[in-house]
Symmetry: C2
Subunit: 400 residues, 2 copies
């Protein structure tokens, strides 16, 4: 059932191994290599406390070409002081040494527990093993994905192909979930690849757009990680001319990238810690785009709404309560709410609806909550998921 | 084990009956009466969507004297349109008629499900029954408390007495919990009584201070209800001279009122939906008082911190993550965190500590999380509670 991986785009090799960071023995070290060098861009968490990996990777976004990506799971390398910074640089140097490139030409990311020193010797020992296994096979691509997973129960990958200048261009991606997901910036670790040739400037612009409309519009618990990193590498191996300006080719590329990122965001929502279903909150009639965004997020983040959805209950009062308390302007006499197209609250007044039908809508894998604020013309959306026992179980019984 | 109720203060009568709003048959209609009239003040939710009860009670805060309070549980009378407003006024008129006072001299509150019309006939029928049972007995006081409860598992009352001008002055209060509690304003329904004589101006000032340091610094789920109401009635029956200026008498009164409110807030935290323990977050070294408040609340509201506390796990990384992402200024090299007095993270670096000892501290009924931001001199605090399976159970299996 492998539909594609990060090596579906030409010009990339991947590997994933278990180097011993995770006590479970599961894969925890992932490599992605572009032997001829890729144009690359990245986005990072806006948390004021960040992983040493984020600090170093941010520096390396200045590189003209990126030749490799090294990611470890099981340890975030965050709040680890000066040793953490040294370890992050060691990770880059180790891969750069294997590839005979500069340490500044490597991207990196870490994910896992905060505040524990990275077992750098294990990474140093595992890295040459992973390098030997580098391959462009679907299996290698899935090994990469499995090695970046933490509490995910399923690997997440997405692929789109488009025809540009008579050639097939592939855009692929993978991401890990599954908790500590808030929509401020480049949530979690997301690695995107393409064999299109795209200028660094436009690649960064497309990444911002795609992540902005997908991972940044997904909230699991409103928590923003210290390690969020989204990156894209363009190998140019498809053989199309460089996409260097915002024309039709760029728009087609951007659209496909947005689809890949949206697909990944939905997979994350459905595999969020303890989640059994997801929903999309659509706000309209907001006084400003910022308020539309705030209201959408407020509903998606509201624990009582999330619990009601877990229970399949059409408790629209909690949606209205979330809207009312989030600080956005609204017209109480125009305030209207629909669940799956069924109006449940109209112009500030309760309205009759078939509660059993709406309950069935909510119990679907995905449904839409739409709210009209009646205060203006701005609109926005946010993805969310239900809050189930599993979230508490995973996060209360996880021990440091 | 009744240590006191709202009628512990002289000059008040109370009652609580089941009028049939709650399907369970539990008490759902509460009356408090001050036959000679009380000076009164109230604070309300800042949610933009409010109960009709809040709208009407807010109007009635203009009254010079308040003679009665009528509260129903089981139905919030929120999002109920024009019928809701008429019902709220009917509640006031019905009690005013029994007491032979003006409808504007009544305070009211509603709590329960949003978006369902109030069964006003049941309230109209139950009200004279409750009036007949009005009494200053401890049992009547407890009946009042039980009739305002929703998902609370325990009644919550607190009483303090002070000696002023050679006379005993009593300050008493009750509150209901237990979910949808965020610290923006006068959380939940809280009724305070005193037999001191206090000017309306100073009574309002003391209420703001007391609620500000207690219920407004408690978060269960960060949710602000549409019905939050805190009120205080002063009967003057203790026979002391009017407290009309900010002297020693006022300060003694305010201090005791703060103690009562703090006591009630702690009871609410420990009886929050699904909670098994509570904690106090203390922030120091913030760049401004607003940022100290924001950081304290961010930690207390952080689901991952709350889950870790439920599991008894000293996961300080989640505390630091909450602080880093809440948007306050901090100095990463000075950032320090203590749990129950044990330093777990010092000056931006991990530090050795006895994890089993800290786990024991967290498993206590109450513990303190202290964080130094290193960005200034402001400090603040917030109360929170753990996030357990019970919260999900109560809120996913509650059906509208």
């Amino acid at each position: 059932m492998v539909k594609g991986t990060v090596v579906s785009a030409k010009g990339f090799l991947a590997a994933g191994v278990a180097c011993g960071i995770k006590k479970s023995g599961k894969p925890d070290l992932a490599l992605l290599v572009c032997p001829k060098g890729a144009t690359a861009a990245a986005m990072f968490t806006t948390n004021r406390v960040v992983s040493a990996a984020v600090t170093v990777c941010r520096e390396n976004t200045a590189a003209r070409k990126v030749y490799g990506v090294v990611i470890n799971s099981g340890n975030a390398n965050t709040c680890t002081g000066t040793k953490g910074m040294a370890d992050a640089r060691t990770m880059c140097r180790a891969l750069a040494g294997e590839l005979k490139v500069g340490a500044g030409e490597i991207f990196l990311a870490s994910t896992g527990i905060i505040g524990h020193s990275l077992p750098i010797d294990k990474i140093r020992a595992g890295l040459p093993v992973a390098v030997k296994r580098l391959s462009d096979s679907p299996k290698a691509g899935m090994d990469f994905t499995r090695a970046i997973m933490t509490t995910d129960t399923r690997p997440k990958t997405a692929v789109r192909t488009i025809r540009l200048n008579g050639k097939i261009v592939t855009i692929a991606g993978t991401t890990k979930g599954a908790g500590m997901i808030g929509p401020n910036m480049a949530t979690t670790i997301c690695v995107l690849t393409t064999d299109a040739a795209v200028s660094k400037l436009l690649l960064g612009k497309a990444l911002q757009k795609a992540i902005g409309l997908s991972l940044n519009r997904l909230t699991v618990d409103g928590h923003q990680s210290t390690n969020d990193t989204a990156m894209i590498l363009a190998s140019g191996a498809a053989g199309i001319p460089l996409i260097g300006k915002s024309g039709a080719s760029y728009r087609a590329f951007e659209r496909s990238l947005c689809e890949v990122a949206d697909d990944l965001a939905r997979q994350m929502a459905l595999d969020a810690e303890g989640a059994t279903r997801m929903f999309r909150v659509e706000i309209e009639g907001a006084a400003s785009p910022a308020e539309a965004n705030k209201a959408a997020r407020a509903v998606a983040d509201y624990d009582l709404v999330k619990c009601a959805i877990h229970g399949g209950d059409p408790n629209w009062g909690r949606i209205i309560c979330a809207i009312g308390s989030c600080g956005v302007r609204l017209n109480p006499d125009r305030l209207t709410c629909w669940i799956g197209g069924v109006c449940v609250f109209r112009n500030g007044q309760p309205t009759r609806f078939d509660a059993r039908r709406v309950s069935r809508i909510i119990r679907q894998k995905e449904h839409v909550i739409r709210v009209r604020l009646g205060a203006g013309k701005a609109a926005d959306f946010c993805y969310g998921c239900d809050l189930g026992y599993g979230y508490v179980e995973i996060n209360a019984e996880y021990h440091t």
